[in-house]
Subunit: 419 residues, 2 copies
């Protein structure tokens, strides 16, 4: 075992040991610890920002893009929003120990399923240092240990935050190893982590598609992930076009760089003639580039002819494909071909078609008459999210605190034996 | 792509295509298909048994053990029990389409989570041909496609059953590719299957620990599994010893070869002197070999001194370890060291300790005052099970129909957009 392997395995062992005590920490203690974290971030703000500036300076030297540097930066606003996020997590219900129902079996035994922590969660992510605090606190609140492996470009920031997180654990008499940040940024350390299936229960990668594919192809530990969000809206023949316009604009424009933003619009041919001109005016005003099929191009000069490779592209930018379709079956076929199981939406006043769409479309969120941007943990009522899953095992869609737990069977007997 | 790879990939593609139509099949159609399967098994019984006899004869030639040949054999009783199992699955509730609750968000949107099929499930199992029918029907009822890869020693039996299962699908106008049996028994075909992460959603291996480890270390697809069941009972100082005796005997003796059978007993030192003599008498009558710690050996001549390697062994046989402990903390430590997260049980009348045990012990089923044999899908009320999971992701414990589904978010809006 070389030095790097030893470090990683020790971290995992310590995490597993800490997980045993975290499993039974009460909500009160966990909430007090989160409050301590918020206080420490406030009181150590200058130190954190000084360390963060080192990362920024190094990033600039290494030629990081302005967008990357922006994500890396812990501005006053970013720190305030981090603290606000912590306050929101404190008030969320703790899923641990919940038993939704107990049933009485014919032999008198009471049987239920109790939410319990998963154990040890490995987070592998890229530049944003705020993920360090977010992820740590969601894992803490759900009674898990967490191992955080952030990007090397945020190393100083993450190290400072790690020290603070562990101090908060110590102040509240919790095992400080429940939150650990990788001291090494060597990629090899990831490979070693991904093989600790006896010690780590779940890996959550967050970042670019390349990182996520790498993690999921090399992990022996279960991985919850989404590669990308290629989200569609189908504007049906019976859509309320006045409602449709703001929903489409919100889906595309409100935050184009995120996974639940709209990338492809499908429009029923019977309403395309009426709807597209007004839509295009609005899209042009918002400086959205539009790539369309031949029929769409024929309806507006603003629309550029789409290349084959444009369909199904995750632009993450002010760009949208528009295809005119003969009806729902063609829209469905298109979504099955180009969708990413992330978010799919229909705009229609047709009751039966809305029900059919909900039933038939396979995506982590299927939406009728509302923005695709609602596929988000906070928006669907989970309170917070650690990510969105487009894999179907364990969690499909936004993952909140409850998705960081599992359910064990509990049996209250009175001496029953099996026949 | 060589011939073997082409066959496997084609099977997976066909399965994925079939999964799309299975997703929306109604419970009525699925139940009628299961009834057809039962009728066909009855009417083709002679043919199935003739094919099964070919496997038995080959197995005998190849030197399979009598136990293996017994598991392989489709006797009249085995076929009757297969048909009875189908009738029981017909009456179970279909999980698909269920929305447990819809919540109304502050902006008026209704949000819920709908159970939907996982998609394509790969079953990899060993000799029992009844698993072919069981697994196929559970996947069918839960709206999934299934790819079945049984052991080469059951190849004739499985091929005959596959033809019958596909005939039932055709008779009910369902895509026959929703149930497919591997036509090749080459181990290489498993390796190829395990890499089809774009086409297959879940792998369930059932069989010996070697097979299961192989599958989980080589799969890019999520795997639900348990390696082994090393189940314990802790007899507390305040156990009702009259209840304790039948629970222990049932846990150990009723079916010693299965994963939820008792393997290790922990006895509080204050009751060991009173309890062990009567327990040992009963265990001796049942011809159970007993391996104990020095303190236990001192209490009964029948107990052999356990070797270090005996602790934590899954005997799957009439053999039991007994260790005398100073109390619950020592019992807990022992379970954490030697348990397999499968089934752990406490016998006590101490209310607070029972609650503590339920909360603190990490196993897929935690039982108070009842036999370990109750960790079973039928016994805990799932109706049927496709296996037991000791991995924590997605399912922990027995997996029934609902564990073969996932939950997508459904949103019923009226034009809402995000602020």
């Amino acid at each position: 075992m070389d030095e790097c392997e030893k470090i990683v395995v020790d971290i995992c062992r310590d995490a597993k040991k800490a997980a045993r005590s975290m499993m039974t920490a009460t909500s009160n203690v966990k909430n007090r610890t989160i409050a301590t974290i918020a206080e420490l971030i406030q009181s150590q703000k200058e130190h954190i920002q000084a360390e963060n500036l080192k990362d920024i300076a190094l990033g600039r030297e290494n030629g990081l893009s302005e967008a990357m540097l922006d994500r890396l930066h812990l501005s006053d606003a970013a720190i305030d929003s981090m603290i606000k996020g912590l306050d929101e997590i404190v008030v969320l219900a703790d899923p641990v120990g919940k038993v939704r129902e107990l049933i009485r079996r014919p032999n008198g035994m009471m049987v239920g399923r109790m939410n319990v922590p998963l154990g040890v969660i490995g987070m592998i992510y890229e530049s944003r240092p705020n993920v360090t605090v977010d992820a740590a606190v969601l894992c803490l609140k759900s009674g898990n240990s967490v191992i955080l492996r952030g990007g090397s470009e945020a190393h100083h920031s993450n190290t400072a935050l790690a020290a603070l997180l562990q101090e908060a654990l110590r102040q509240n008499n919790l095992n400080e190893k429940a939150i650990q940040v990788f001291p090494i940024t060597d990629r090899k350390a990831i490979d070693i982590l991904l093989k600790q299936e006896e010690l780590v229960d779940l890996i959550i990668p967050r970042g670019g598609e390349g990182l996520i594919r790498y993690v999921s192809q090399n992990s022996r530990i279960p991985v919850l992930k989404h590669y990308k969000g290629v989200c569609h809206i189908y504007v049906d023949r019976l859509a309320d076009l006045e409602k449709a316009l703001p929903v489409i604009l919100n889906s595309k424009i409100q935050r184009p760089g995120v996974c639940n933003a709209l990338e492809g619009l499908l429009v029923h041919e019977e309403v395309a003639g009426e709807f597209l001109p007004m839509l295009i005016t609005a899209l042009r005003d918002a400086q959205v580039r539009v790539l369309g099929c031949s029929k769409a191009v024929a309806l507006s000069e603003y629309i550029e002819k789409a290349k084959d490779s444009d369909w199904g592209t995750e632009f993450l930018d002010l760009c949208l494909t528009i295809k005119i379709v003969a009806g729902y079956p063609e829209a469905k076929e298109y979504i099955e071909r180009y969708g990413s199981n992330h978010t799919e939406c229909i705009l229609t006043e047709d009751y039966s078609l809305a029900q059919k769409f909900i039933r038939e479309i396979d995506a982590s969120a299927v939406i009728v008459n509302a923005s695709t941007r609602f596929n988000d943990g906070g928006q669907v009522g989970l309170g917070a999210e650690i990510g969105i899953s487009t894999t179907k095992l364990h969690a499909y869609g936004p993952m909140g605190l409850e998705e960081l737990t599992t359910r064990k069977f509990v049996v209250y007997g009175e001496g029953q034996v099996r026949d």
